[in-house]
Symmetry: C2
Subunit: 288 residues, 2 copies
């Protein structure tokens, strides 16, 4: 049994707060757009006080971009291999015993970083039945792929997959074609197949050409283009027969699941919030 505490998954654009009881149950949770991009450095103490006012006067453990140079207090990255014990030992205590930030993890060569996802990857191995050294995937703006072995994060890769799609939809020549819904449909799977052929720049231009030539309904262009980008990402990560654990919400998870299966892999989808909670609760037990 551990004391109740408040866990905050504090990302770039969103923030999710959980009150975790002694038995591990979440008795209250809240999600809002108060990410680090919209929070001034000087406002964090007041934000934390407001969280305590709503969730109770309990210890607060924060993870994510809140620990970056754009956040509240920059915590140095831990090098790989990193497990929960290493994260707990290097937590940055803003107020000793009361308010802390979990450090991020880096892969110094070839160069990669994460902040927040380490809690989910390590937590996933506690919350779910995940084979040692299994390939895990956490889809998002910056999609993370990682492996945990003997309780330590041993390898990871970030791909700018979600951000590339957002750039194309907001600002590119394809923007007007990319207004449709995205689903793991036939157009998506066709995109995945093309995306796996290692020629993304040409495949993207063909989206434009297919519209001009009337070869594809523009209603399918968003699904197809999402498939291209996710397909390129997945193809760089797996070989035929590979097994992947996806940590995501059902909608985004379904896209990666479809892409992995289209490219010959097998995938299993687990809830990312459960993984985060398992990880942050384990960290709390180590430091209280």
């Amino acid at each position: 049994m551990s004391r109740p505490f408040i866990a905050v998954d504090w990302g770039t654009t969103n923030r999710r707060v959980y009150r975790v009881e002694s038995n591990g149950d979440v008795s209250a949770t809240e999600r809002d757009g108060g990410g680090v991009l919209t929070t001034e450095r000087g406002d964090y103490p007041a934000e934390i006080a407001a969280i305590r006012a709503r969730f109770g006067d309990l210890p607060v453990i924060c993870a994510g971009m809140v620990g970056s140079n754009r956040g509240w207090h920059e915590t140095p990255y831990l090098d790989l291999p990193a497990g929960l014990a290493e994260l707990a030992a290097r937590m940055a205590w803003i107020e000793p015993g009361h308010t802390a930030i979990v450090p991020g993890v880096c892969h110094r060569r070839p160069g990669d970083v994460m902040r927040g996802e380490e809690v989910q990857f390590l937590g996933a191995t506690l919350a779910h039945s995940i084979p040692d050294n299994a390939l895990m995937c956490q889809p998002g703006t910056h999609n993370k792929w990682a492996r945990v072995s003997s309780g330590k994060l041993v390898d990871f890769t970030t791909a700018m997959t979600g951000e590339l799609f957002a750039l194309l939809r907001a600002h590119s020549l394809l923007a007007a074609q990319l207004t449709g819904d995205i689903a793991p449909d036939a157009a998506f799977r066709q995109g995945v197949g093309e995306g796996g052929k290692c020629d993304l720049g040409a495949a993207l231009f063909r989206v434009r050409a297919a519209g001009l030539l009337g070869e594809r309904d523009d209603a399918d262009a968003a699904s197809y283009t999402s498939g291209l980008l996710i397909g390129a990402d997945v193809a760089a990560r797996i070989e035929t027969g590979a097994r992947v654990i996806i940590l995501a919400d059902p909608a985004l998870g379904a896209l990666y699941l479809s892409a992995i299966e289209t490219l010959g892999g097998k995938a299993l989808l687990h809830d990312s919030h459960t993984a985060f909670l398992a990880g942050i609760t384990a960290l709390w037990k180590l430091v209280q």
Copy 2:
């Protein structure tokens, strides 16, 4: 000997006008930002009149995006294979014998289009000594690769290379790192090597990570990232020992030349304006 005429290379953002004399010499030329994006459809007759007021009351032959649905008058694409005779026969005459637009070319499957570059590719084979079926490259926002055999354009591919770089520099998480100059330097060639490894999404995120971890000076990030994108494009197009003819201005041409040589090919740079002029003059001879 052909009669003098006015050639207009009328693109998306820029426009270049040439007065071509009977002997093929250019006696006057002008480049401005009057591309189709900044020209209303109803304004083209006045624009053409203004061009004649400056360059002489001569026939005007236009090529490029002026013939698109965003331009003056949409001309249907010609299917491959397409040579100068086919382009001349399908020119759209706005005023018979006096003002015309050269049609674009399409590759219906897998789907690709060009407008304007066809004049340069076909013209290059007249202006320069280019082996039959040689791979040619016309770098730009939408980089074009093509082959001309027996005087006909037989194959081409467009890659969104330049546009992807512009999106990243203007709007991405990397924007603040991409303010430096771009040159075919060591950082560029390192990027080319990484770009050729078929994992663009991860390589792009590593630009961010290298900055955060202090592993690369941000002054080199623009060259490196340009190298990544051009490297990915070139690697999809050539094998070791391949020979490529680049049609470009010296600055952009030098980047592609460096990338092609870094990836084991050989490249030769020719001036793209000379190629355009040779092509459009040959078209004028066919229709006057």
